[in-house]
Symmetry: C2
Subunit: 336 residues, 2 copies
């Protein structure tokens, strides 16, 4: 062999070892990089996107999924509780729809097992979209542009609620936010985060936050008691999992929220009682870990959390298929 060839082989071997060490290091971390969404059925995703933005799914004709899960603002409305039909006050903080496919279940209390089961909820909830599944079907079946698409995607002549929620879920599955600076760091780009941010990550692990906020979502994979060490005081009536299981042991057990893009979606907690990320970190340290974090520690953890903001969904604003003469004209001011 010639010297050049030998040197090349050695160089490749060194690079491979370095790369494998890096990958190995990332694999050892309790947080994993987000993978971009794989789109296998673009026609279904496009249909789901239109439905996500379509206010005609609501009784008033004004509220769409995007009204409370605003994809221009981190996938949420950023209120303590959401606004529903005729300005009804919702019961709970609207969670971000971003990366929600990573959740163990949907809603804070996990009452929906997946995204399509979730999507049917707000349509029929009297304090959200306040329609019915039948009314939503009736409206969509009068819209030729939807009929054509449902026929193409599902092979059906008559649109049903199961296809509606399935298409919405398919779109929501694409709402993944990869390439956060922290993910770049995990993948070996050591300059992607600052020393200050890295120290925040160390604190996040050393203090115990990581016990619940781990995995690719940095949360979303378990239910935990809100107020594990010290009691959480709130006027919000939700009892968490107990509302679903009716077991006293599940009182105040809530799905651990995903911390991806957390800086985009104040206020925090299921009752929205923490209006800044700083407050949220301080409160969690005390309630869940019994720790009084110093302002410096809190600032470092907050700085780390801000490295979790990834690429936001990038897509063309959908054009909704127009109503026909047969489409019911909504009257948002009619008596209930």
């Amino acid at each position: 062999m010639r010297l050049k060839t030998i040197l090349t082989i050695i160089a490749v071997a060194i690079l491979s070892a370095a790369f494998s060490a890096q990958v190995h290091a990332a694999e050892q971390e309790p947080i994993q990089p987000l993978k971009p969404a794989k789109i296998t059925n673009p026609a279904k995703v496009e249909l789901g996107k239109q439905l996500f933005f379509d206010p005609r799914l609501s009784r008033s004709g004004w509220i769409s999924c995007n009204s409370c899960h605003n994809l221009s603002m981190g996938g949420s409305d950023n209120f303590k509780t959401s606004i529903g039909d005729r300005w009804a006050q919702g019961g709970i903080r609207s969670p971000s729809v971003l990366n929600s496919s990573l959740n163990i279940a949907q809603f804070w209390d996990g009452r929906a097992k997946n995204l399509s089961a979730q999507a049917g909820g707000p349509i029929a909830n009297p304090i959200e979209m306040n329609s019915t599944h039948e009314a939503a079907e009736r409206v969509l079946n009068t819209i030729p542009g939807y009929r054509t698409q449902f026929k193409k995607v599902y092979g059906v002549d008559k649109i049903g609620i199961d296809q509606i929620t399935d298409a919405i879920a398919e779109f929501e599955n694409t709402l993944v936010t990869p390439n956060a600076r922290f993910d770049k760091w995990l993948k070996g780009d050591k300059k992607a985060i600052t020393a200050f941010e890295l120290s925040g990550y160390q604190l996040f692990k050393d203090s115990g936050c990581i016990a619940c906020h781990n995995g690719p979502g940095v949360g979303g994979s378990s239910f935990q008691k809100m107020g594990m060490v010290n009691e959480f005081k709130t006027t919000n009536p939700s009892k968490g999992r107990a509302d679903v299981t009716k077991k006293d042991a599940d009182r105040m057990m809530f799905k651990v929220p995903i911390l991806r893009n957390v800086e985009l979606v104040p206020p925090y907690f299921h009752d929205g009682s923490a209006s800044t990320l700083t407050q949220a970190v301080e409160t969690m340290g005390w309630l869940q870990l019994g720790k009084k974090l110093t302002p410096d520690q809190t600032a470092r953890i907050v700085a780390f959390l801000k490295t979790l903001t990834g690429d936001q969904p990038q897509f063309t604003l959908p054009q909704l298929p127009p109503s026909s003469d047969e489409t019911p004209r909504p009257d948002p001011f009619s008596k209930k």
Copy 2:
């Protein structure tokens, strides 16, 4: 000269003559094709787009320009009257924002001379966004991502309402919908519309609709009395231009609406009393021209009007710069 060259010259001459005849024909029509928007300041357009979609300009933090001028649905909310802060009932049909730069003035009664003057209205209107210009400025000045952009676009350290409305107007100027089938026909593609649709255009001209609905917007260039020949009966309290000029002669004078994309935005008229295009055409024939159009005539005119739907705005859903800890947290359920 060789024969080939001579033949080429002759062919070019014939084509030129044909083209010039065609252009001449299009120029003689009372409707002209829409020209695509020219974007000279993309950074300002992008900033205006973000503001157009930003609910933080409203008191509740929930209503954006796009709430009532929905760019997924023809630039309007498609209600008889719009929904405002705390579900307030608006006074009038929300006009489409599409091609609104072609209007002689803004609002049905023309009380704003241009788009930037218009944009300030809804922000401060108690039954629309119900904020104030000062509050809107205060909110935006706490958002670093806006401060950077306003600095870049306007060279200002402090964001003011004049720049806010100027940027929104700049974005709205881009909301032009060229390439309607009718425009293709005007430009010489005789197959772009059917014989039935063409007969509707002839009727539109012969019946007199064209007297007010002409130019590139097919309307938008004058104020006319609603109920010119026969009286328009409505419970809507608007008096049109008279509300602005206080002159009795201006009672029921409204801006002639642009008919571009009209199929996308039922219901019709300033009071939304015509729920289909068919009803709208019949009613206008009677009120404005004293004509009882036959169902066949109406159907032809409706078919022509549907050829006026152009390319809808195509852009990436904007990402809004996140609030900072200093940004006021809106409370949409607080007492007024």
